[in-house]
């Protein structure tokens, strides 16, 4: 190190050139065997480390009750839909039924940008990637609840932007009153239902569902997925729109398995 000045420069230059070649080839989408090897090598370790360091503190009874609560909320959402189906004016609304062959089960193997006690989970890393048929913008669900959207895909992993993420914006409607609005992630596990006209009715405790935004290429959000529950309504007659605070029914920090909806 001390023998000559800047002796490290040739090594640094060689390493930089190799890195740049790999970076550019990955950027322009050339299939990279290095990426495949790295994914195969690290996924089992990442899965084990995530499972070991991310176990739930809740007792089995609490976990069971939470699961039961989630299941009941899902049934409630379906009930609202059945009520709508019975209504002659709204019989065109269909109940969401995602065929199982369109679902890819994936383990959560990472929660980056998460500092326990300080920050909340905003993105998830799952152990399924383009090799398994996952594509960018695919929806990710758990028990008919929307978890988020796939934002980045590698060969063996994908990054999922959660519904609570600040970058998450999509159209939504309420289950009971059918009020239309735009749901915006606020970070810190919160969401905001905005742009709801004053003539629509927002109720505390009402479920918020995706409106659906599938385009001609089959890309976008499926309809009738549960986003969360309204916990507070903000309505002022002087404003053009009313809004509501929405909370996800899922414990997003403790999700260990999710399902990617193949378009």
């Amino acid at each position: 190190m001390h023998k000559g000045r800047y002796k490290f420069l040739p090594l640094l230059a060689i390493l930089l050139i190799i890195t740049l070649v790999i970076f550019i080839s990955d950027f322009i989408g050339i299939s990279n065997p290095l990426s495949l090897v790295l994914d195969k090598m690290t996924i089992p370790f990442q899965n084990n480390i995530y499972s070991a360091l991310h176990t739930s503190n809740d007792s089995s009874e609490v976990v069971k009750l939470k699961e039961e609560n989630l299941s009941l909320q899902t049934q409630l959402a379906k009930l609202y839909e059945l009520q709508k189906d019975n209504n002659a004016l709204r019989d065109q609304f269909a109940v969401t039924q995602i065929p199982t062959q369109n679902l890819i089960s994936a383990n959560v193997i990472g929660t980056p940008q998460f500092i326990p006690g300080l920050t909340s989970v905003e993105v998830l890393i799952i152990d399924k990637g383009s090799n398994d048929g996952v594509k960018k913008n695919d929806g990710v669900i758990y028990k008919n609840n929307l978890v988020g959207t796939v934002s980045t895909v590698s060969l063996g992993r994908s990054l999922v932007n959660l519904v609570t993420n600040k970058n998450s914006v999509f159209t939504a409607k309420t289950a009971k009153t059918n009020a239309l609005g735009v749901i915006k992630g606020q970070g810190q596990e919160e969401m905001f239902l905005d742009n709801v006209v004053l003539s629509d009715k927002l109720q505390n405790g009402d479920l918020v569902l995706t409106k659906g935004s599938i385009d001609e290429n089959g890309q976008g959000q499926l309809p009738q997925l549960i986003i969360g529950k309204i916990i507070a309504v903000n309505k002022k007659t002087s404003n053009i729109f009313q809004s509501a605070d929405v909370k996800s029914l899922l414990d997003l920090e403790r999700l260990s398995m999710v399902f990617v909806v193949k378009q």
């Binding site: 190190m1 490290f8 640094l12 790999i22 970076f23 990442q46 360091l53 990472g110 980056p112 940008q113």
Partner: protein, 136 residues
């Protein structure tokens, strides 16, 4: 050095799985400051690819950052003494801050402060460890 590299390998997977404080960057900086060996460049290069894979980033982006950062540290040590707790603290703060900006992290300052604490902790441990071996 080998033990540090193994610890770094473990943290590269932890960093991609649980938390995203730039622990690997702090440890690489401390390794470069304490050992002053070119091998740290190669370790940074390899660890960068593992981090890219575990964090689903563009392959090569973290390696590129590590190499540029360590290269700057090496250039700096020609003119100044880098083997001090002040340098480790300052370099890990600015390195961590830029890392958080480049890779689009939230809580930039908080993450940088945590990375300073981690870097100083690593520095104290590695310096003592190195002294103990030298005494034997």
């Amino acid at each position: 050095m080998i033990i540090s590299a193994i610890v770094l390998l473990f943290f590269s997977i932890v960093e991609g799985s649980i938390i995203t404080i730039p622990i690997c960057l702090s440890l690489l900086l401390v390794m470069m400051v304490v050992y002053k060996k070119y091998e740290v460049l190669i370790i940074g290069f390899l660890i960068g690819f593992i981090l890219d894979s575990t964090s689903v980033r563009q392959l090569g982006s973290t390696s590129l950052y590590f190499l540029v950062f360590l290269g700057l540290v090496l250039l700096y040590q020609r003119k100044f003494e880098i083997n001090s707790i002040y340098f480790v603290g300052l370099a890990s703060f600015f390195g961590g801050l830029l890392y958080a900006i480049v890779f689009n992290y939230n809580f930039l300052v908080l993450q940088s402060i945590i990375s300073v604490v981690i870097a100083i902790l690593f520095y104290v441990i590695l310096t003592k460890f190195k002294d103990t071996i030298a005494l034997r």
